[in-house]
Every structure is written in C-alpha cells, then in structure tokens.
C-alpha cells in the first residue's frame, strides 16, 4: 500500500546517468528495465508568523531496475540530486473552495514534475544494491539467490564495495532539532547523506 501511495510520485522515464568507472565502481545498469521509482520526500511543519504550514522537500529517489537479459537479477539504486522544497502559500482557507484547491494542485503537480525532471539531470548515483532471486518451487516464495552486492559512494567520492549474505545497507532518517533533514545511507563506517538545504525552509523554526 505504501508503495502504491509513493508510486504516485513516479516520473516519466528520465535517462539514467552513467556511473563513473573505477576499480570498486558498480556495474553499468544502462538499458535495465525500471520496475519502480520513488522519490525520497520529507515533510516539515514550519512556522511563518502566526501560521504553520507543511513544506515538502525532495532530496533524491530510489529505483528498482531489472536486468532485461537475466530477469531474476535486480538492482536497487539511490540517486541524489539538488534538493527541492515546496513551500505552500499562506491561505485564507475559508475563502478558497475545494475546487480551487484541486485546480491549484493540478497545476502544481505539472510544475513539480517539470522541476524534478530538471533536477534529475544533476543527479549522482550514490548507492547500488544488486541481487538475484528465484522462486522456491515447494512454497512458491521468492528467495535470494547468491550474495547481495553493495556499492556506496562515500563522502570522499570513492565507491566502497561489500558482498554480503544479508541486508547490510542501513537507511536512517536524519534530523536536526525539530526538522527532518534527510536520509543517511550507510555501509559499515561509510555513509552518504541526502539532505535538504535548511535555507529553503525559510520561516522561523
């Protein structure tokens, strides 16, 4: 259900940016089929004078891709792009009808998609998890086939690789005081933070 709700933020097929080549670098996934794409969103309640409003920030996205030549092979890929924050206008809600709100939302969704497309041009892949799966013939359940390969771009700009049998990558919400700041992806002691720019939130905390 959560996936379904988040899938509302699906984009129209932006081109995948190639991952730089290097000794520890993840494999190229160009040409892989997109299974799903979800934007990493944060919501913060901010104060402006007497009023409060909820600002939405988008700091990146994750995609699940499938190898078209080996359908049991998948990657989970996290992209980081310059953060976007949408701050609602202060409204006299009693004056605005529900129809007007719907109209404003329709126009906003279009602008939002266009802006996201623009930002995705400036994205970097910071995490890639590759795995293979198969079906258990007895139970019909999906099972992991072989190791999970994890690549994380650390803060020094170097790819860290780790092959494991379990989920190793950790995702945490990062907050500062009362604000949700972003997401931290870690592979052991290495991490990469996708975060919003605090100045975009404006208002007073």
């Amino acid at each position: 259900m959560k996936i379904l709700i988040l899938a509302m933020f699906l984009l129209q097929e932006p081109a995948l940016l190639p991952i730089q080549q290097g000794p520890n670098n993840p494999p190229s996934v160009n040409g892989w089929k997109k299974v799903t794409e979800i934007h990493l969103e944060l919501k913060n309640v901010i104060k402006s004078g007497e009023k409060t409003m909820t600002a939405t920030s988008i700091v990146g996205s994750f995609r699940v891709l499938q190898n078209p030549e080996l359908e049991s092979e998948f990657v989970f890929m996290v992209s980081k792009y310059p953060p976007l924050t949408f701050v609602p206008q202060l409204l006299q809600s009693a004056e605005n009808t529900r129809d007007e709100m719907v109209v404003a939302e329709n126009y906003f969704q279009k602008v939002k998609q266009e802006k996201l497309k623009e930002m995705i041009k400036f994205s970097d892949t910071i995490l890639l998890i590759k795995w293979r799966e198969s079906k258990d013939l007895r139970t019909g359940e999906t099972i992991l086939l072989g190791p999970i390969e994890n690549w994380l771009l650390n803060q020094q700009g170097k790819w860290i690789f780790e092959s494991t049998n379990d989920k190793t990558i950790k995702r945490e919400l990062v907050s500062e005081e009362d604000l949700l700041l972003g997401f931290k992806f870690s592979l052991k002691e290495n991490y990469h933070i996708l975060r919003l720019n605090m100045s975009h939130l404006g208002g007073e905390k």
Binding site: F86, V111, L153, Q155, N197
Partner: protein, 376 residues
C-alpha cells in the same frame, strides 16, 4: 402630409429601437467576426469574462484575432493542464447545451420553467446557470397571494447552503433574480400581488412548505462572508488560481553556463572531514581537492564559491558558524592532484564528553554533509 410625417417619425423611432436591441460590443469588427465571436461566443460565455477580457474583446477586428482570443480564453481556464482535454471548456459547453435543451423544463421541481421565456442567455437564470451550473436543489411555487417564485440552492462541501438564488416571475413572464432584504416584511411586500395582506402571503407560503422561499428572501448564504455580489463575479481562471495558491518552489539553480571547470559529479562535492581536540578545544576540519569543486571565471581569475555551515551541540549550547568563501586558483593548480582547500572551524571549548556535529558544504548546486558524534 402630417400623417406621412408621423409614420416617418415612427419608422425612425423603431429603427433606433431596433439598433438599441442589437447592441454591438465589438465596435470595429466585420460582420462575420461579430457573428462568430459576439453572437456565438460572447453571448453565451460573457458571465465568465473579466473586465480586461471584455475590453480586449471589444477591440477585436478579424476572425483570426477572435480565434486567438477564444483559444487563450479556454487555455487560461483549463483546470488540469496535464490532460489533453480542457475540462472547464467541456463543463461550460455542457451548461450551454443544458440551457438550450431547457433541462429544467421537465424537472419535477421546476416544471414549466424555460430559460427562453426568461430572456435566454441574457436572463438572470441563464446567468446563474452559466456561472454555477445545475443547482443542487430547486423548488418552484405558484401562489394566489404572491407572484410565482423559484429557488435554486447550491451547497458547499459541508452540506451548507453556499448560495440561495431566489427568482420571481415578473409580469407573469420572465423570472428575474430577487435580492434578499434585511427586513422580511419588505421582502414579502415585494413579491405579494396587489391588494393582498402581507400576513396572507406569509400564511400561504408556510402552508405550502415555502419556508425556503422565506429564508431566501432575507438571507443569501449560510456563510456570512458570501454576498450576492461575490456570487455573480466571473470565476477566476484556473491559471490565475494556480498562480495564487501554488506552493513556492525553492531549489538550487545550477550555474551551468558560468562554470569553467567542474568536478566530475553532478550533485556531490567529495571532501574529507576530520576533527581535532586539544585541551578540550574542538576544531572541525575539511579538506577539499581543488579538482572536486566547480570554478567560475571572475575578473580573469578562477573562483570557487563555497558555503560552509557547521553546528556543534554541546549540552544546551549550540555553536553555529556560517562561511561564504571565495577560493581563488589557477587552471593548472586545479588539475594538480594534490592541490587542496583547507578549512578549520573556530575552536569550541567542550563541556560534554560526547558532542554532536553537523557539517554542510555547498558549491554551485552540489553539496556534501556529515553528522558525527564526537567523543572527547
């Protein structure tokens, strides 16, 4: 001769009258343009024209200009720009069709009411119908002591009456709008037939379950902020509403065109973070390779604009620093692998054993961030 003069004057008078009846809004337009624009378009949708659009419309001369005006008129009102259909145009065209097909004529509650008999698109009922569409509730009443009445009610999201439009039949022909009166008896007097006691009018309305007519005579809406004036104003075009209500978008604007030398990433600045504690004093340190920054040309020099923000939380204290630094370099230095920019925060005297530090750097649209727990 006198008779001929009288006939001549009468003909001239009738001609003038005829001219007045066909008042032309488009002063400079050709006949076919008037037909297409004024008769087929304006006469139906005029209630949705803003004052500016009316003025613009008056100046139209050719069919081409008219077509551009109509296209823009609809485009501005499209309620969902992401679909190919213009939902608002479809909605208003349906209202025109309803009026032309006299949809209320066979409606149980408004049986016998025809827009045509109430001056067609120029009449009050059509004006309201074009503005607000089919009412949520309608009722018509024929009285002995009062003129025929009809009420149209539009509800809001909470089930309350947003608008109550009351019409009365003038001269036993057309329905015209009745504006609510503060004084109920004055209102009743206005709808009563000649030589009738006002009490009798009131009684007849009550006996015929006409309370809604009595309410509509004195009150227009359940929401005291809504006035008849507001309800008759042309609705704001969707694009205007969107401009007023849409959230503000805040983001980084990449200086792509100004960048002379860029790092190899799109949104990341690779950097090394470290810290040093000497005699209870904490210093946060950053080390950034020149090649890992974006550079612009300023007064013949290569400049990298770097923003650094550090925060250290120690017990109840918050030590915050912000720096806007312009690093100056040369192309040769930038490409050298061991050319660095170093940053050190001001020393912070530590009180706790463990403090939390947050570091954020930004250069062009690229950034990096650290959140660390530092143990003394």
């Amino acid at each position: 001769m006198r008779h001929q003069i009288k006939v001549f004057i009468l003909i001239v008078f009738l001609l003038i009258l005829n001219g007045c009846a066909k008042k032309v809004l488009m002063k400079y337009a050709e006949t076919d343009t008037i037909k297409m624009c004024e008769e087929n378009f304006y006469s139906k949708f005029y209630m949705h024209f803003s004052e500016n659009e009316k003025n613009e419309f008056k100046e139209i001369k050719t069919l081409g200009e008219c077509q551009i005006f109509i296209d823009t008129f609809w485009q501005k009102r499209d309620t969902d720009p992401s679909t190919s259909e213009n939902e608002y145009k479809t909605l208003l065209e349906k209202r025109v069709e309803d009026i032309e097909k006299e949809v209320l004529f066979q409606n149980m509650d408004t049986a016998g009411f025809a827009f045509k008999a109430s001056d067609g698109f120029k009449g009050d009922p059509a004006k309201i119908y074009m503005l607000h569409g089919a009412p949520d509730f309608t009722k018509k009443i024929e009285g002995h002591t009062f003129v025929n009445l009809m009420v149209w009610i539009y509800g809001d999201e909470n089930g309350k009456h947003r608008y109550r439009f009351l019409f009365y039949q003038k001269n036993s022909i057309q329905y015209v709008i009745f504006w609510p009166q503060w004084n109920g008896w004055i209102a009743i007097e206005e709808i009563s037939k000649d030589f009738v006691e006002l009490d009798a009018v009131y009684e007849e309305l009550i006996q015929n379950e006409g309370e809604i007519f009595l309410i509509s005579m004195i009150s227009f809406s359940d929401n005291s902020n809504i006035t008849p004036d507001k309800a008759l104003k042309p609705p704001k075009p969707a694009s205007e509403i969107a401009k007023e209500l849409a959230p503000k978008i805040k983001t980084e604007t990449p200086k792509t065109e100004e960048i002379v030398v860029a790092n190899s990433f799109n949104s990341t600045i690779p950097a090394e973070f470290s810290y040093e504690i000497t005699n209870d004093k904490l210093i946060l340190k950053l080390e950034i390779k020149h090649e890992d920054l974006d550079w612009i040309l300023k007064n013949n020099e290569l400049v990298s604009e770097l923003f650094i923000k550090t925060i250290v939380w120690d017990k109840d204290q918050k030590h915050e620093e912000e720096h806007n630094i312009n690093i100056v370099s040369t192309k040769q230095k930038i490409t050298e692998k061991n050319s660095f920019f170093f940053f050190e925060s001001k020393p912070i005297t530590l009180e706790s054993e463990i403090v939390k530090a947050s570091i954020y750097i930004k250069n062009n649209q690229k950034y990096n961030s650290w959140i660390e727990e530092i143990k003394r």
